[in-house]
């Protein structure tokens, strides 16, 4: 080493006395089978640091009040040099962070790294995951556009369904009886002050535990099945043959760099969806959550009426507990996913469920148009059918039915209903659904004038 540098390091060592810790941190040995998959944790940390940095700078211009939030973001995006880019990094970085944190969790699960002696690292990791989701929830409101406002109305309603404390929770989240100035204030405080403090505190604990316990190795060879009594010996042996952390750091750096490139590309080329400024009096708006909450939103379909609380509270609670307590009820010695079929199958099932629900959310039909809107297509129809189409629109059928990809999929898709049902059947059904088909949940349209009913049934019967 250059004598100059040695002198500087020596000077620092005299004052800080940290050389030994640093050496132990950088040159600690890792077990055999530390792979590219083991970079996901540091990748998550990198993204979180980046979110923090871009967040610092966004805070210079962003104003957390309903009067100014939307304008200040528009100003950031349109007037400030690099504004669109910086906000893009933060915006797309949020989604990417959630993806990477989730993949990290998945890696740890698949490699059985939540088992002895890393149970607590896992527990803290799960809490970190929840904190990251909370960042998403609170950050989503800040732009104060329509989707931000309405997603938060729905989000706080969902929190409000919690048994016993729901009503309090709801109001405490909102800071009052409605989503407004104070909601924005507290979401902002949580997003930029409280959650970061919690996040970095937990990260410190999480990383210290990783350094102390060593990284969970790829469960191959003798490490595939580890009993407590053999653990220390086999892990030490493996470390004897492995590389140092310093060498692994190159992988971490490469992954971080590639992620940054991807993110920069997204920020530079993708436009950030920004809607009109929030309007709490708009009754035509159709709320949608951010994609990582789709699964929760879609789950609501499965539990109507008084069962709603199952989807909004009990299932999420069960999911969080199942994750948190995993190391304490899965006490098998197998670490490779193949040696613990029950846990693997359970996780695969849960993952598939979340995947399917997220996919459903992502491919949900376009929201219904405002009642009475006449499209080009209806104008081109022969008059009799056009009348039926007008009745369809006016009566709000699209609030429950999908027609050619538009509407809400509460009832059957009517795009080809004519191929299944005849005119007369449809007429009887619309008038009194449960008389024709017991258990039909559609409300009767008995008051519909006969000619409108005829036009509607005729129109539907022609949809083939």
């Amino acid at each position: 080493m250059a004598p100059r540098l040695t002198a500087v390091l020596g000077w620092l060592q005299e004052r800080l006395g940290t050389r030994e810790q640093l050496t132990r941190f950088l040159f600690r040995r890792l077990p055999v089978g530390t792979t590219w998959w083991h970079t996901l944790g540091s990748a998550a940390l990198f993204l979180i640091l980046l979110q923090t940095l871009t967040g610092f700078f966004l805070a210079f211009y962003y104003v957390p009040s309903p009067e100014h939030a939307w304008d200040s973001l528009t100003y950031i995006q349109q007037e400030i040099p690099f504004g669109r880019f910086v906000r893009g990094l933060h915006y797309w970085g949020a989604s990417l962070t959630i993806v990477v944190v989730f993949l990290h969790l998945l890696r740890v699960f698949v490699m059985g790294a939540y088992k002895y002696p890393r149970e607590l690292s896992w527990v803290v990791g799960v809490v970190l995951f929840l904190v990251v989701m909370l960042f998403g929830f609170t950050g989503y409101l800040l732009p104060w556009d329509q989707k931000a406002y309405w997603a938060t109305v729905v989000g706080t309603h969902i929190a409000g369904t919690a048994p016993f404390v729901g009503d309090y929770l709801w109001r405490i989240l909102q800071g009052g009886v409605e989503v407004g100035t104070r909601t924005l204030g507290r979401f902002y405080a949580a997003h930029v002050l409280i959650l970061p403090a919690v996040l970095y505190g937990l990260i410190l604990v999480h990383v210290s535990m990783v350094v102390y316990q060593g990284i969970g190795p790829t469960p191959r060879g003798p490490l595939a099945r580890l009993r407590r009594q053999d653990y220390a010996r086999l892990y030490e042996e493996s470390k004897g043959r492995g590389e140092t952390f310093l060498e692994h750091l190159v992988r971490d750096a490469v992954v971080a760099f590639v992620l940054l490139l991807a993110l920069a590309w997204m920020a530079a080329t993708w436009s950030i969806p920004m809607e009109e400024v929030a309007d709490p009096t708009d009754t035509q708006y159709v709320p949608r959550p951010e994609w990582y909450f789709y699964f929760l939103f879609e789950l609501l379909w499965q539990f109507p009426g008084k069962w709603t609380v199952v989807a909004t509270f009990w299932i999420p609670l069960a999911g969080v507990l199942a994750l948190l307590l995993l190391p304490f009820y899965d006490r098998t010695s197998g670490r490779s996913p193949l040696t613990r079929p029950v846990a693997s199958a359970g996780a695969a099932l849960a993952l598939a469920a979340v995947g399917v629900l997220t996919y459903q959310g992502a491919t949900a039909p376009a929201p219904p148009r405002e009642g009475g809107a006449v499209t080009q297509e209806t104008k081109a129809l022969p008059p009799a059918l056009a009348k039926g189409a007008a009745v369809y629109e006016a009566q709000g059928c699209s609030a429950c039915h999908v027609l050619k990809g538009t509407g809400t999929a509460a009832g059957p898709d009517l795009t080809r209903v004519g191929a299944r049902r005849a005119d007369a059947w449809l007429r009887r059904f619309i008038k009194d659904p449960s008389a024709v088909q017991s258990g039909a949940s559609m409300p009767p349209y008995g008051e519909l004038p006969d000619e409108e009913l005829q036009a509607l049934a005729g129109y539907l019967a022609a949809l083939k």
Binding site: H157, D167, R171, P287
Partner: protein, 178 residues
Amino acid sequence: MAPDPSVDTVPPGRRRFVAAAMTAIGAAIAAIVGVPLAGFFALPALRRSERRWLEVGPVADFAEGRISKALAKPLVGPVWPRETGRVALYVQNQGDGKFALYHIHCTHVGCPVRWNAPAGRFFSPCHGGVFDKDGRVLAGPPPRPLDRYEYKVEKGVLYAGRIFKVNDRLEFAAWHHA
């Protein structure tokens, strides 16, 4: 040379004293700082009577037997926060000076419901919730009828007050923010 740090270098009696002193001081600090902060954070949100009356408009604007959307103006005092500029609600003039004022949030998870006059129904755009003109659930997942506002008429002007829930027979069930 100073002895190595170890529990035994402090006699048990002193250790107990330190533990007791630290606990007492710690608890006192936590209480002095924690109680006001917790109250500061949560209590304004839990205040019951905060909601002031909203001015909905002259009674004459609401035709008998009809339901229409109204933008009500909060009668704000001088104190921050002013909250949203206007509050939307649905007004049903039931005749005889009786009204029903409906909250626009679906009782399922809060999507804004639309009044559809030709169909005579309220539709929620999120999961196919349908309510009849009196706010009863006709279909879909909403667990209870539309929430309502208490109201009063003064000098021919309609005012909306607190929000309440109703049961399936449309009777008062509970204040929304009890």
